[in-house]
Amino acid sequence: MAVIAEPIVKPASRFRFILDRRDMLGSIFVAPAILYVLLLVGVPLLMAVYYSVSAYTIYNPTWQFVGLSNFVDILENPVFRETLYNTFIFTFGSQILGLILGKFGALVLLRPFPGRKFVRALVILPWAVPIALATVAWQWMFDSLYSVINWTLIALHVIDRSQAPNWLGNPDLAMLSVIVVNAWRFFPFAIVIFLAGITAVPQDVLDAATVDGAGFWRRNYQIIMPMILPIVAIGLIFGIVFTFTDLSIVFLMTNGGPVGATSVLGFQGFQTGIVSGDVSHGAAISLFMLPVLLIVVVAMLRFIRRREI
């Protein structure tokens, strides 16, 4: 006699298919990210906003409300204005240099050559190496006595030993040095962005340009560059935001010096708010980055949308 298995009856639950519902599952997946942003970005930001309108210092932890006087103070301070100027120079200098290196590197890495895979892996290193290690290495390269850059230039008879530049001691050269280090750190990212963009340009379009009589430069600057501009602009937004708010390279390499020549907003905010304990002014300095970055990012996003093709 055939035995038919009894069907297993599960108690029907209202929540049985809850994970199959798109809206539920979506909320569950997104929740950790939202919590993270709220707790670790939102709360500190609100605290910073509060500090910036209070008279809070670590010596006198009062919550006394002082309005916008902290902002007036820092704007009247010539050191702050110089810092703001430095930040712009540092950010845009290193972005421009990084983009040029990135474009050049992408063009080199686009064509197959022996050992390309190895070089591609190697090129990512500046981006992957811990910033502190890399900066210490650069510090030695820029050292006033042991600089390997100077040694090379002297050996090549480009400069004389007596006029060897003091990279981190001269205000202009120090700014150039931190820009070079930051560009060095940024350019592998730029290469990746450029490579991704250039590979996405349809071969037909490039072939059409070739047959239409465009040579190497025209293809690059009238066809490829305008077509990948939106992608590059996104990369540039990242670069600008990270550089504008960065203090690690300056902190590790020049400590803002000489005489504040390489002091940037993030560094000054840290010095004032944490090291000197003037939390309210530090917060005001740091918050100053927000409107500046907002303007830059919104302007660039609008530009991208207009160029969207």
Partner: protein, 341 residues
């Protein structure tokens, strides 16, 4: 003097020859179609003509001059690509003007020519749009205008209709053909679609395995195929090819008719067993085998549907069929055409 001619062009990628010795002459004003299955080397050959690829050996002549080492921009040929290759960040006007700008032609002259080309193709109202705002057919016209604007010695078209839907394709076919006749530009047109080839080409070059199998007018290609490949590649359904002792013979499905449809002309008779049939409205395709030959060889017959009633076509029944002797084609053992009638 031919507009384009090639002498024994060979192109190897590594050891593999993609083009294996093509010699072809295209006179001024001709519409030449390169027809072949995908991977036969026709596109590579086209890319060699416009200079995007350099042949491994052989000579390429454009307007009578050897241009082997002349860069694409100086060859005076224009090419329209399969997916058109329009510049997405330029307006239509700028797209059409681009080949003139690269030649450093003065602005007023450029405007005049852009005007001329856009009038010719009826896209004058689209000049300020960008490619993404255009339909497939409009994009194609823009691509054609861009190719023609500098009045090339030869116009190269790479499968230009493959991105259009079937309906649009039929009208685009007519349009390109009429347009070419009006402008009179020498055209080399690559396609794998035999309908396009038959319908548009002044002459067709059938290409397979990197070689030209046959060059001729559409009627020659269809009626007198040079070998078994051409015979079976052109025509739907393809020519029936049957093995015999000393080679093969072939006949087109529409020439394989019930005996009573042939009125006393000299013919060869076959006993035909019907296996299945397809009614296609305008015609009926009948599949079966013929007695006395390879029983696995499926033979197709294309019959006018009105002539044959449904019940006449019963699977398994034998019918007397015949082919007019004038429609029979003989092939050697190596597949080449044996003797011409």
């Amino acid at each position: 003097m031919a507009a384009v001619s090639t002498r024994d062009i060979i192109k190897k990628f590594g050891e593999v020859p993609a083009v294996n010795g093509i010699s072809l002459t295209v006179p001024h004003g001709e519409f030449m179609v390169l027809l072949g299955p995908s991977g036969c080397g026709k596109t590579t050959f086209l890319r060699i003509i416009c200079g995007l690829e350099r042949q491994t050996s052989g000579d390429l002549l454009i307007g009578g001059d050897i241009v082997n080492d002349i860069p694409p921009r100086a060859r005076g040929v224009a090419m329209m690509f399969q997916s058109y290759g329009l510049y997405p960040h330029f307006t239509v006007r700028h797209n059409i003007a681009f080949p003139l700008k690269t030649q450093g032609i003065p602005r007023t002259e450029i405007n005049k020519k852009v005007e001329w080309a856009s009038q010719l193709l009826g896209i004058g109202h689209l000049l300020d749009r960008r490619p993404r705002q255009l339909s497939g057919g409009e994009r194609q016209r823009v691509a054609l205008a861009r190719a023609l604007v500098r009045e090339p010695t030869a116009l190269l078209l790479e499968e230009p209709l493959s991105n259009l839907d079937a309906k649009l394709r039929a009208s685009a076919r007519q349009e390109i053909k009429q347009f070419q006749q009006r402008v009179g530009v020498t055209t080399i047109y690559v396609t794998h679609d035999q309908v396009e080839a038959m319908g548009m080409g002044d002459r067709i070059a059938v290409i397979d395995g990197g070689r030209v199998r046959q060059v001729g007018k559409p009627t020659e290609i269809y009626d007198d195929p040079a070998d078994r490949f051409v015979a079976t590649f052109v025509g739907t359904p393809p020519m029936n090819i049957v093995a015999k002792n000393d080679g093969y013979f072939g006949f087109r499905p529409e020439n394989f008719l019930p005996k009573d449809m042939i009125n006393g002309e000299a013919c060869t008779e076959f006993n035909f067993r019907v296996d299945r049939s397809e009614y296609l409205g305008s015609e009926r395709i009948v599949y079966g085998v013929i007695e006395g030959f390879d029983p696995k060889q499926v033979i197709t017959a294309k019959l006018p549907p009105a002539h044959v009633a449904d019940e006449w076509i019963r699977p398994g029944e034998w019918h007397p069929f015949a082919v007019r002797n004038s429609a029979l084609r003989q092939f050697d053992n190596d597949g080449k055409r044996a003797s011409r009638h």
